[in-house]
């Protein structure tokens, strides 16, 4: 890596150069393809690279821009998609033997919107099988590795998305988040990961895992880049029944304020100090981040949320039940074609009774209300993403979330926007993280807070040494 390596430009930086014709989309795509060729044999971030298609798209973008038809900040930007996002004419296999050779006829809505914005698809990215299977060695594709230490887990389920962006193998990657699968790999790979509000971004054409908990969103190097991507993909989509028909604000404009004066932040400290204590490094990084935000002018106070275990148990019953509803037919007909982790984690949903599901749905509504009440008067809440930095690859057990529960699922349950961003590094150089959770459809506030924090800290100056 060098400071001038185009693969380490943020989207905002690359876009500025492309718009003024100082950077060629063709050169940029070639640089990424070279880097993928060199590094992905180790990282396994991609399941499929599309060099010919990417170069053709780059040439078309270059011609269009030269002709004065610049589309905006994603025009000519190379991206990757988690391999559960449908891509017309390009295999989308969900990391599963069950879907090998599956070639969708149409793009997912997000795929289409990104292409319309001028983004260039470099390839499809490694995913845990059906976004649930875990770090597995019995599925068709090897697990992705963490660029900060290739012996470590990048987390999942958007594992390739996290690894690719951190390693400079694409400028942005899309992930999906049912219980943290955007925010978690963003955390362990040192990135910004945005789970937008439920309904803000269409899920049409993305393999489902849990109807009421699935969210689609980006993993990027900076918060500003997340705002750029959200601007392109936030829209109403009749193909997704949960899609919100609401105006889309100017997310990048929301980043203009240099400070956080007037912003009120709540900290649910018992969640990560009593319910599941964060490790020393994660806790210390969190406290330091709070002081940075305070120094930027934010007013900070402690708040009390319901117990983490109640959120997680409720989300678990709903996701298990919904996951089994989606997979029952194939689990019964072709169980041997699932990897063991996905098979077990989906089959257990068969044992969720109707009454269990209804109690969980009832509890969910209570938790949504309780969270809203606790947040009254606050613009956002702050907490870590997970208690620990990345472990050795393969050390996560099948039910790791019960041993050391993480702090993400509450906001899949409530549907609130949640952003993870890098808050430093531990003694071994592994990334630590901060989570900012906003009010429904207030991604602008979440992005503003994250962007201000990022600008006041040095964490974006460090890249993995590969």
């Amino acid at each position: 890596m060098t400071a001038s390596d185009p693969c380490f430009l943020s989207i905002a930086e690359a876009a500025s150069l492309i718009a003024t014709k100082r950077l060629s989309p063709v050169e940029l795509v070639r640089a990424y393809l070279d880097r993928i060729e060199r590094l992905d044999r180790t990282l396994h971030a991609y399941v499929r690279v599309l060099p010919d298609e990417a170069l053709a798209a780059a040439r078309a973008a270059e011609a269009e821009i030269a002709a004065g038809r610049y589309r905006g900040p994603l025009h000519g930007i190379p991206i990757g998609l988690k391999d559960i996002y449908d891509t017309a004419g390009v295999a989308t296999e969900g990391g599963s033997k069950l879907c090998l050779g599956r070639v969708p006829a149409a793009d997912a809505t997000t795929t289409r919107l990104l292409k319309q914005a001028g983004a260039i698809l470099l390839g499809k990215l490694t995913t845990w099988e059906f976004a649930i299977g875990g770090t597995a060695f019995d599925t068709p594709f090897p697990p992705a590795r963490n660029p900060w230490n290739t012996e470590r887990d990048p987390a999942g389920s958007s594992s390739g998305s996290g690894a690719a962006v951190a390693a400079g193998l694409c400028a942005m990657a899309m992930g999906s988040d049912t219980g943290g699968s955007i925010r978690w790999p963003a955390t362990w790979c040192g990135l910004a990961g945005l789970k937008p509000t439920y309904g803000r971004v269409s899920r049409a054409g993305i393999m489902p895992l849990s109807f009421s908990l699935d969210h689609a969103g980006p993993l990027t190097w900076t918060v500003e880049d997340a705002a750029i991507v959200l601007q392109a993909i936030a829209s109403h989509d009749p193909r997704d029944p949960a899609s919100a028909d609401r105006p889309v604000p100017d997310y990048r404009a929301a980043l203009a304020s240099p400070d956080l004066k007037g912003i009120r932040l709540g900290i649910p400290r018992t969640m990560f100090e009593r319910d599941c204590p964060a490790s020393g490094a994660m806790g210390a990084a969190f406290d330091a981040a709070v002081e940075v935000l305070r120094s930027l002018g934010a007013a900070i106070a402690e708040i009390e949320l319901p117990p983490l275990a109640l959120y997680n148990a409720t989300a678990s019953l709903i996701s298990r039940g919904e996951g089994f509803a989606i997979h029952e037919k194939t689990l019964r007909e072709r169980p041997q074609d699932y990897g063991a982790l996905a098979r077990d984690r989906l089959t257990i949903g068969a044992y969720v009774r109707a009454s269990d599901m209804l109690q969980a749905m009832r509890r969910r509504m209570m938790l949504v209300e309780a969270t809203k009440t606790a947040m009254a008067g606050f613009d956002a809440i702050l907490l870590p993403i997970c208690p620990d930095p990345a472990p050795v690859l393969g050390e996560l057990g099948p039910y790791f979330d019960n041993r050391r529960p993480m702090y993400m699922r509450p906001f899949n349950l409530t549907g609130q926007p949640a952003l993870s961003l890098c808050s430093g590094f531990d003694d071994t150089g592994l990334p630590l993280s901060l989570q900012i959770v906003g009010r429904h459809f207030d991604e602008a506030a979440v992005l503003r807070i994250g962007h201000a924090y990022e600008g006041a800290t040095p964490w974006r100056e460090r890249r993995p040494l590969l």
Binding site: A242, P247, N312, P335, A340, I348, F441
Partner: protein, 66 residues
């Protein structure tokens, strides 16, 4: 209802008609215990005389149409 969680797991597996692969039963039995911990945490304490419960979340698109 069978007495132990292991017995309940066996009975329910049969009732559900699940054909488990070799090695799967032990994993699922552990997962079943975890699932029942979650069921206990969520609780089943809805009293007959309570106010009506609300379990239906309207789609965001229904809240505010332009």
């Amino acid at each position: 209802m069978a007495a132990s969680i292991e017995d309940r797991f066996a009975v329910e597996t049969e009732l559900l008609g699940l054909k488990l692969l070799p090695g799967q039963e032990a994993n699922l039995r552990s997962a079943y215990a975890v699932l029942h911990e979650a069921i206990a945490v969520v609780g089943a304490d809805y009293p007959f005389e309570a106010e009506p419960a609300h379990v239906f979340a309207p789609a965001p698109s229904a809240e505010r149409r332009r």
